[in-house]
């Protein structure tokens, strides 16, 4: 697909395929178009050219909330909690609107999800009071609550300490084991290497290489993109 803002081509004919159940990594320097790419996929932005096919269905004309209902979920780079709501209620929103649970079931299921990611004791806390790593987990939990087939995690580990990165990574591994396809955008190389089965690298709106993590790291183009000319 292609996407431009005015005269600026954020994405030029980027084409990629992700297999169901895959763990897919997306890397690239700042400004390379990674977030634009997932904004197009999730529906926050409309791509100008090309198409997005999800599970056999063309979705590029659909609004973001419709794509979420079809199984595409994403977490945000800078966490965006529903700040007037408690942690629990944050999850009730997608459980109600995507999964269609009634109030009682939604609350119960939300509690269950919070247990899985370790935020159960914060259920009643107003979401604006959480710490950074808790906010990141909440972001993922909210995406999980939408029962997605595809989860796009946008720099969920940025700025976290080593053990916190491991916590978040474990959540993603568990989700994948349950059958969810995961696209991970990350700058933390060791996380990408450990997690991904396949990686592509974007630079200035184009794919510069694609392959297994070990190959990507050795690719001169990738090194140049990250370290400069």
């Amino acid at each position: 697909m292609s996407k431009h803002f005015g005269g600026f081509a954020a994405l030029s004919e980027v084409s990629l395929e992700v297999a169901a159940g895959e763990r897919f990594g997306l890397i690239g320097p700042n400004g390379s178009g990674k977030t634009t790419l997932i904004n197009c996929v999730s529906g926050a932005l409309r791509n100008e050219a090309g198409s997005i096919v999800f599970r056999g269905e063309e979705v590029s004309r659909l609004a973001a909330y419709q794509r979420t209902r079809r199984g595409i979920a994403r977490s945000f780079q800078l966490p965006r909690p529903f700040h007037s709501m408690s942690v629990l209620e944050n999850l009730v929103v997608p459980l109600g609107y995507v999964v269609g649970l009634n109030d009682a079931d939604a609350h119960a299921e939300a509690r269950r999800i919070l247990e899985t990611i370790g935020l159960a004791d914060k259920a009643a806390t107003p979401s604006h009071r959480l710490s950074q790593v808790e906010l990141r987990k909440l972001e993922l939990a909210r995406a999980m609550a939408a029962r997605p087939r595809l989860l796009i995690s946008d720099e969920a580990m940025a700025g976290l300490a080593g053990n916190e990165v491991d916590e978040v990574l474990k959540i993603l591994f568990d989700l994948n084991a349950a059958g969810i396809t995961i696209i991970m955008i990350e700058h933390i190389m060791q996380a990408v290497m450990r997690f991904s089965q396949r990686v592509i690298c974007l630079d200035a709106g184009r794919i510069i290489c694609e392959g297994a993590p070990a190959e990507i790291v050795k690719n001169p183009g990738v090194q140049k993109a990250y370290l400069g000319a």
């Binding site: 005015g6 700040h83 007037s84 604006h128």
Partner: protein
């Protein structure tokens, strides 16, 4: 038609302050026209002491500059800093401010129209069969100078470019060592200072009354949105388009429909092409 062009340029100058405050700084400044009308009344007051309106306008600019800084500082500390509900509250704040200014003016000056006197008001220039009122020409000239000056300032000077930079990429600016808040404060001050002069021109062009800010909300936002947020050159074009449209409607349908033109045009632009002509 000529009338439309002159008035259009005037609208552009009047809107240029909002182009900075809202277009670049993203402040929901619906009180901008009210500040302009305040400027008009200050000009009127000085006019009672024999001041020429344009001179009065220029003299008011430093005062309004300080006022602008004060308002921005207050707005920033109270709303932008605290995040969360800032959008709604900021908007409500400026709406309330506009209202307070309008009612304050009514209480001090009454609802009657006020005018100002000068050599060039009341006389017209005869040009090829047309009679062009001098006051419009003066306003037109000042408007052009003002828009040109501001455009040059924003593109040539260091502070000017910093202002544009802060609109586009605040974190980058911070990394370069500049303080975004001070820059934005300065920009808002300039926008308000310009508004003082715009107010002076307003009362030159015609009589003013306290409720004039309402129709100018339509005109200024129409120009700013049509231009494309943050585009100074666009402001000139957009002003001309509005001025000409208004004069066409005036001729075809009469004066009672003219105020609705700006608002109607605004709705059309928002519906079809919200990023305006030169939008970023």
């Amino acid at each position: 038609m000529l009338f439309g062009i002159l008035v259009g340029c005037f609208y552009a100058a009047v809107s240029v302050g909002l182009s900075v405050a809202f277009g670049l700084l993203d402040v929901p400044h619906v009180a901008h026209p009210a500040l302009m009308v305040l400027g008009s009344y200050c000009t009127y007051l000085l006019g009672l002491y024999g001041w020429d309106p344009i001179v009065a306008g220029i003299a008011l600019t430093p005062l309004f500059f300080l006022l602008g800084i004060a308002i921005y500082r207050f707005y920033y500390e109270t709303f932008e800093r605290r995040g969360s509900d800032a959008g709604v509250r900021g908007l409500a704040f400026f709406f309330g401010l506009a209202f307070i200014i309008e009612v304050g003016l009514i209480l001090v000056f009454g609802v009657d129209q006020r005018m100002v006197e000068a050599d060039y008001i009341g006389k017209s220039l005869s040009l090829g069969g047309y009679r062009i009122p001098w006051r419009l020409l003066v306003a037109f000239a000042i408007a052009l100078l003002l828009t040109a000056a501001l455009t040059l300032y924003l593109s040539r000077t260091f502070t000017g470019r910093a202002i544009k930079a802060v609109a586009q990429d605040e974190p980058a600016l911070r990394l370069m060592g500049a303080n975004p808040v001070r820059i934005k404060q300065w920009a808002f001050g300039i926008a308000t200072a310009v508004t003082a002069l715009a107010g002076a021109m307003l009362i030159v062009v015609g009589p003013v009354e306290p409720s004039l800010d309402r129709v100018y909300i339509g005109r200024t936002f129409c120009v700013v949105v049509l231009a494309g947020l943050g585009s100074m050159t666009g402001t000139l074009f957009a002003g001309l388009i509005l001025g000409v449209s208004e004069s066409i409607v005036l001729t075809l349908f009469g004066a009672s429909w003219a105020p609705a033109v700006a608002f109607g045009l605004l709705l059309v632009v928002l519906g079809i092409r919200p990023q305006g002509l030169f939008g970023r």
